[in-house]
């Protein structure tokens, strides 16, 4: 589903290379996790894939179902089925959460040549998805992420994911700033979306999120490269011994 080959990325403003050749394939129906120390390039990978400004791709490819996504605008990537759950969801005063989600869903549907969803059907859809995440009507009515706690913001990300039904979901440190209860709720929301046709790439520092969202494959990223790939046991190893051993092992 998501195929990344030899991806090299510089920061645009500084002459600094962040990704030094990333190879990664996420198959449909699978959950891949990326772990790695601070500054290893995990978040950069998620931003580059979603089309954020400020990065220059100097080599390699990234395709979604065979389609080159690196040349697409962010909105085209979203319509193609890519979704990034932000590490720091943005507050947008003056734009209602419902308006935001409906505009996004209809824009994606339009881009895919589908009919727009009616207001009534949309309301039904959102209510149903919001129930799983225990999100109140008030949270749906408020401006996007304004006045939301850290946990509420992350739940709102997962709600958007549930409503937009992307093919490929990237979760960028979704566990950061969450207490145990919030993490359980978020994980429940994510697990409800696991499906044979959908791929996940879960970026995290810690093993604890992976207790709730069980990965099929775990990658370790360090200094802009995937240095080791294994099963769920690799996450446990990191939790126990840190990254130093793995780095030493592959050096």
């Amino acid at each position: 589903m998501l195929e990344i080959k030899g991806l090299k990325v510089d920061l645009e403003d500084e002459e600094k290379t962040i990704l030094k050749g990333v190879d990664l394939t996420v198959e449909a129906g699978k959950v891949h996790a990326i772990m790695g120390p601070n500054g290893s390039g995990k978040s950069t990978l998620s931003y580059v894939l979603s089309g954020r400004d400020g990065y220059e791709v100097t080599g390699g490819t990234a395709t979604l179902d065979g389609e080159d996504i690196l040349d697409m605008e962010p909105e085209e990537r979203a319509a193609a089925g890519l979704f990034l759950a932000f590490q720091y969801p943005v507050e947008i005063p003056g734009v209602g959460n419902m308006t935001f989600m409906r505009t996004a869903l209809n824009a994606q549907r339009k881009a895919r040549g589908q009919e727009e969803i009616s207001a009534a059907d949309f309301l039904k859809l959102v209510r149903e998805k919001a129930a799983t995440l225990e999100m109140s009507n008030d949270m749906l009515k408020r401006p996007v992420n304004v006045g939301f706690s850290g946990g509420e913001k992350k739940r709102n990300e997962i709600l958007q994911m549930a409503v937009l039904e992307p093919k490929m979901c990237i979760l960028d440190e979704t566990d950061s700033g969450l207490d145990v209860d919030a993490m359980k709720l978020v994980s429940k929301g994510v697990n409800a979306l696991r499906d044979a046709g959908r791929g996940f790439l879960v970026i995290t520092h810690y093993q604890r999120l992976l207790d709730h969202i069980k990965p099929d494959v775990v990658h370790i990223m360090s200094d802009g490269r995937i240095i080791k790939t294994g099963g769920p046991e690799l996450a446990l190893e990191v939790e126990k011994n840190g990254y130093a051993d793995i780095k030493a092992e592959v050096a």
């Binding site: 979603s50 089309g51 954020r52 400004d53 605008e73 962010p74 909105e75 990537r77 979203a78 319509a79 990034l84 932000f86 969801p89 943005v90 507050e91 947008i92 005063p93 003056g94 734009v95 308006t99 935001f100 989600m101 505009t103 996004a104 869903l105 824009a107 994606q108 881009a111 401006p143 996007v144 958007q160 937009l164």
Partner: protein
């Protein structure tokens, strides 16, 4: 102090180009007095401090600069609202297009008619609030209006008006120079909504005096038409009694030059005054909101909320002042003026002022200008919203605080629709 010769000459040249309307005893006296005020103050000049950010020359010149006509193809503002329509074409009353002037709870007359009478209640109001508003800052174009206005409406509200009164201003002559003056008197407990829309003329000078008695409520919503080349200087003068409410919102899209002045005096305790404006300008656009609110009673609230969206070299100006007089304790004053600059060519000039002579008050003011929030833009795009739509969504969100000052929901969505239509027509 004697006026500079250049100012005297410009003032006399302007006056010589005009003909003072004929009228009965009271109107003649009011116009004579106003003319004296004009001569004493002189018309605005580019060197006047109060006109530092807006060039007054084309508002003062003997002849109105030409303004091309504009074919507006969308539905007129307020079309969905049941209202009493009063139509002026280039400042001339259009009886055929206007509704019958009878409305429950309200007496509506035309200034041109009541000015002929030797005596009329309007005598106590016409030019009176304007005169009050001349201190501490001179507003000579308002005095000129009182002296020279050819028509307008004179409204006495005795109860709750059955529906809004809509003043509609058409612009059909490229060189029209219109002066209208409205007087509105709300009795104790009375309620009225006045809607205004349209460009009015190539050059428009409009004044409106509103006397809001104790516990009365006055709502005002206007849009100033989409003609690019029109010029307008407008004044609203309001005096508020105890527990009265005054709310005014203005939407301005396009217009080569607009100066909207609003002068409010809170004279009764517990009164509330809100003035708001949302303007959108593209290219040859200069929009000036000048507001002066005087708190002269206890426990009054005032809000000024002005938002401007500017692109392609458009210019926005805000001069807003809250004056809290001695003894006006428990004053709650709020003022915000913000601009969204959609490119590097546009400009926003702001002069927010507070002057406070009471010690137990809460007043705040803020003024900012900024660009579209790139983080928010990316967030919307990452969810699939195309850049132009995302930009419009954020622009409307920026304007929302001003638009939300409109109490009536239907009128509010009418204005939002007009604003989003304007943005949509400019989508890249």
């Amino acid at each position: 102090m004697a006026l500079p010769q250049a100012k005297l000459d410009a003032t006399e040249a302007r006056l010589a180009s005009m003909q003072r309307p004929e009228g009965g005893a009271w109107a003649t006296a009011a116009r004579d007095a106003a003319l004296e005020r004009v001569r004493a103050m002189g018309l605005p000049h580019a060197r006047d401090e109060y006109w530092k950010f807006t060039k007054p020359d084309t508002l003062v010149s003997a002849d109105a600069p030409q303004a091309a006509l504009f074919e507006d193809d969308d539905a007129p503002a307020f079309d969905a609202t049941d209202r009493l329509k009063i139509v002026f074409v280039d400042g001339v009353f259009d009886a055929e297009a206007s509704d019958d002037l009878s409305l429950e709870g309200v007496t509506i007359e035309r200034l041109a008619d009541v000015a002929k009478a030797d005596i009329h209640w309007a005598r106590d109001l016409y030019g009176a609030l304007e005169t009050n508003g001349q201190t501490p800052v001179a507003r000579p174009l308002a005095a000129l209006n009182t002296a020279m206005a050819t028509d307008g409406v004179v409204i006495h509200v005795t109860g709750k008006a059955a529906k809004p009164v809509n003043l509609i201003y058409h612009h059909k002559s490229e060189s029209s120079d219109a002066i209208l003056h409205h007087v509105i008197k709300l009795d104790e407990g009375a309620e009225l909504t006045v809607l205004e829309n349209g460009p009015a003329a190539a050059r428009f000078n409009k004044a409106m005096e509103v006397d809001v008695a104790d516990t009365a409520r006055f709502n005002h919503v206007r849009t100033q038409g989409r003609d690019h080349e029109r010029r307008a200087v407008t004044h609203v003068f309001a005096r508020l009694g105890r527990e009265s409410v005054f709310k005014s919102f203005t939407m301005t899209a396009n217009g080569i030059l607009t100066r909207n002045e609003c002068v409010i005096e809170l004279t009764g305790d517990d009164a509330v005054a809100h003035v708001a404006g949302a303007c959108v300008g593209d290219g040859d656009f200069h929009h000036d909101d000048t507001v002066f609110i005087t708190h002269d009673a206890v426990n009054c609230e005032s809000r000024q909320v002005f938002k401007k969206v500017l692109r392609n070299g458009a210019v926005g100006v805000f001069q807003g002042k809250i004056l809290v007089k001695e003894g006006a304790q428990k004053t709650d004053g709020y003022q915000i003026s913000q601009s969204l600059l959609l490119d590097g060519d546009s400009e926003f000039l702001a002069k927010p002022e507070l002057e406070i002579y009471a010690d137990d008050v809460a007043c705040s003011h803020g003024s900012t200008s900024g660009a579209i929030d790139e983080e928010a833009l990316f967030y919307l795009r990452a969810r699939g919203v195309p850049k132009p739509i995302a930009t419009d969504l954020l622009t409307l969100a920026f304007l929302a605080e001003a638009v939300e000052e409109i109490e009536d929901e239907a009128l509010r969505s009418d204005m939002v629709e007009k604003l989003s239509g304007w943005l949509e027509r400019r989508r890249g």
